[in-house]
Symmetry: C2
Subunit: 243 residues, 2 copies
Amino acid sequence: MSSPSSAEGSTSTATGTATSTARGRPARLEPSRTVETALRLLDESGLDALTMRRLADAEGVRAGALYRHFATKQELLTAMAERMLAGVAAEAAASGAAGDWGERLAALARSMRTALLARRDGARVYAGTHSTGPNTLGFSEAVTGVLREAGFGDEDAARALMAVGAFTLGHTLEEQAALQPECADGETPADPERLRHAVASGPYPHLATGLPALAGGDFTAHFEFGLRLLVEGLRSLEGNRGR
Amino acid sequence: MSSPSSAEGSTSTATGTATSTARGRPARLEPSRTVETALRLLDESGLDALTMRRLADAEGVRAGALYRHFATKQELLTAMAERMLAGVAAEAAASGAAGDWGERLAALARSMRTALLARRDGARVYAGTHSTGPNTLGFSEAVTGVLREAGFGDEDAARALMAVGAFTLGHTLEEQAALQPECADGETPADPERLRHAVASGPYPHLATGLPALAGGDFTAHFEFGLRLLVEGLRSLEGNRGR
DNA sequence: ACCTGAACACCGTTCAAGT
DNA sequence: ACCTGAACACCGTTCAAGT
């Protein structure tokens, strides 16, 4: 409310190489800072509102300048996905260090879910990209490592990685879709209400009894349930192999 | 190559209520036919090229006319997702009828995967929507029904539905992303090659040994592996409950 | 009731020209 | 080397006006 013209480039407080929004002419672009700004805009306005033009504005630059550092918007999104996974493998290693392979695997899946949930539309951003950066590969390496050190074969370890990854991504995708703000002013009836009505009015007896548990429950418990199924499934495989 | 002007509205051959692209003036829009046309365009050009304007062209109408039948593009996509799941529950009931609950659950997951894979970008379309139509709800009802009839409690049945759904969606998402055409003329190095290079040149010993199994193997086997983990996990739950 | 014409407020991306 | 200015070829969506 105080000075409307000074509220723009106030993000880079500590860095000396700030954007210098006004007066100072060039306003250099630095890739890593650009990715961080993009993630901030994502949190503020969501994926649909994340625009090359808006990102350029936030960096005090014209849209075309971004293409000197990111060949395409897809490349920018990939860099954002990679950045979101920073520290995931390390955090999981710390929290799962005391447990057996099942607990260490679960810790990895949990920290990936936490990382995706930490940013608005995080799962959607991640689902649309295929990073080959150190954070993404480090996570896969950690999962595969836990399984191979537990005695699983190469093929089983790779497939278990895919299963855990698919489940975790799919789960956080549904989770963030269910938690989305949707109607800002209470306009739209929202998803859960329409779902409840559709289930109640149609021939879905089994679904109707299960719906409160699904929609009402906390997603962390749901996630833990699915995670347990996967880990117990892997244990039964271990048993069949005779160890 | 023959007559360039007659290649447009040649899709509705049998229906008498065709679009009548030229001369016949109004060109009425019918919602169910519009959804089918949208799915055809999806298969032909992919999700990113599916545009309200292009869909309107294919129906011989101006873009604004679509909004008389679909309030938003999102609503159109939801209708497409719902349509993609037509017959999924019925097909699964037929193919899994002979088996126990585990086999019937697996049959449901398989037919959902098949339905999503049947259309280009099917998983992406489905992931971005939340249909409350009969095909979508019928699938959830079938899954919950199989589990409750097998003796699982309401909460476990609901959570197992979510786990199987998240895994199936996440898996087909990765599957279609890996199989995407990407570079039409062999321009881009493609994802798998860049991934292989990144894994080989970095500190990822476990991933490196598991990568051929992951990238080279067929996705159906990967899917079956994850599906088995979930079903075996549910069996172990059943055992702990003492039945 | 349903579609056309035309606009509004944007997009991602490219590229000559400046510095 | 890196950014600006300005354009190109589009978007989703709205709405008066026609029929």
